[in-house]
Symmetry: C2
Subunit: 189 residues, 2 copies
DNA sequence: CGCGACGTTGATTTGCCTCAACGATTGTGG
DNA sequence: CCACAATCGTTGAGGCAAATCAACGTCGCG
């Protein structure tokens, strides 16, 4: 039952009757993604939001110089999307790639916008989720400014051991904002 | 009429009848803050959200080593709060200080939580505002990782000229994540 | 007036990047 | 199943970006 995980995640943010939550979950479509495949590629418009059931995704940007910058990783029980492209229906600057064979519950944009209007509780759910996200991004910025690369690395593997175990050092370095060579030297020292 | 600015800001995010928006705006209390004074200090709990009518604020953290890290500045038409402390009612790690004599519209936390439940539109308003904020924080992180200090400085003064004009170079440097000495050298070269 | 915060500059050090090379691992097609 | 290619992690030499520390003149404010 893939929906059980989604239900628990939702109920962790808002109260909802079992009938309402079932109606909500029905709007999410189970999708399998093969390792290496993309849910979204830079230049396209993001018209979905996803909730990861199993596997692992990397959400990253490639800049003008061809360098990769990982915004975050999404594993079981995480949400993913390009929120900027999704809201404004503009061309995305992000790639969302499966690092393993994965399963996601996807909801279509128009479906989601409709749900906002149909249900005050859905609106509340995503209001709360977004506010939590803002807090998390603020803390990440402060960590980036106050901690050296070595400490950011320790923080990452201690805070997200289940993610660290699934990804390569190169991917970690692009999340930390350093080169993979320097990460290698960090791990040695 | 300080509320006109708030009304326009809100209407820029959601539609609202004039009666409803008036009811909403009434919950915000005009507050004057003298230059140098704090709306919030590290260690206290944030129980308000603010909307700046005039003046300028700096929202920053002081780390274990005594270094200041500026999250953002808030001038006319900007919102401010410690969203983490506000949501979880935990001790704040942020300071919110007026850099000029300023005027803010403040809404109390309990009042705001009540409004969420009373009005679907209010819930929608803050859902949209939060989602926009998430997008902005994500873009800021990518800029921090992909641009050198000099380019981040140019970006800042070009994107927020009205802020740049109100603050000191030291404050800009703590926003950019560099020392004030280095910023001085950037400006020279 | 005098103090404290500010911006500047120089000398030195440090954190991190670049480039290049290498072996090890992983994935792939024949 | 093997051979090869691609990607990975590692290491070293050298360079650059930014931090650190110290000193100095300036300005605004009490």
């Amino acid at each position: 039952m893939p929906y059980k995980l989604l239900q628990d995640n939702i109920l962790n943010n808002v109260e909802m009757s079992s009938s309402e939550i079932e109606l909500l979950c029905k709007c999410f479509i189970p999708t399998s993604v093969n390792r290496g495949d993309y849910l979204l590629q830079q230049g396209n418009v993001c018209n979905f939001e996803g909730f990861v059931i199993e596997g692992c995704f990397r959400i990253y940007n490639i800049d003008d110089e061809g360098k990769e910058h990982t915004l975050y990783f999404a594993v079981r029980d995480w949400w993913l999307m390009d929120i900027d492209s999704f809201m404004n229906q503009t061309s995305s600057e992000l790639n969302i790639q499966a690092l393993e064979d994965s399963k996601v519950l996807k909801i279509n944009r128009l479906r989601k916008e409709a749900l906002y209007n149909e249900s005050h509780r859905v609106e509340k759910l995503f209001r709360i989720m977004s506010q939590k996200a803002v807090a998390a991004w603020q803390r990440r910025l402060i960590r980036n400014h106050s901690m050296k690369a070595k400490d950011r690395y320790s923080y990452f593997i201690n805070t997200y051991p289940e993610i660290a175990q699934k990804i390569t050092d190169r991917q970690i370095s692009s999340y930390l904002g350093i080169t993979h060579e320097f990460l290698s030297k960090i791990k040695k020292g």
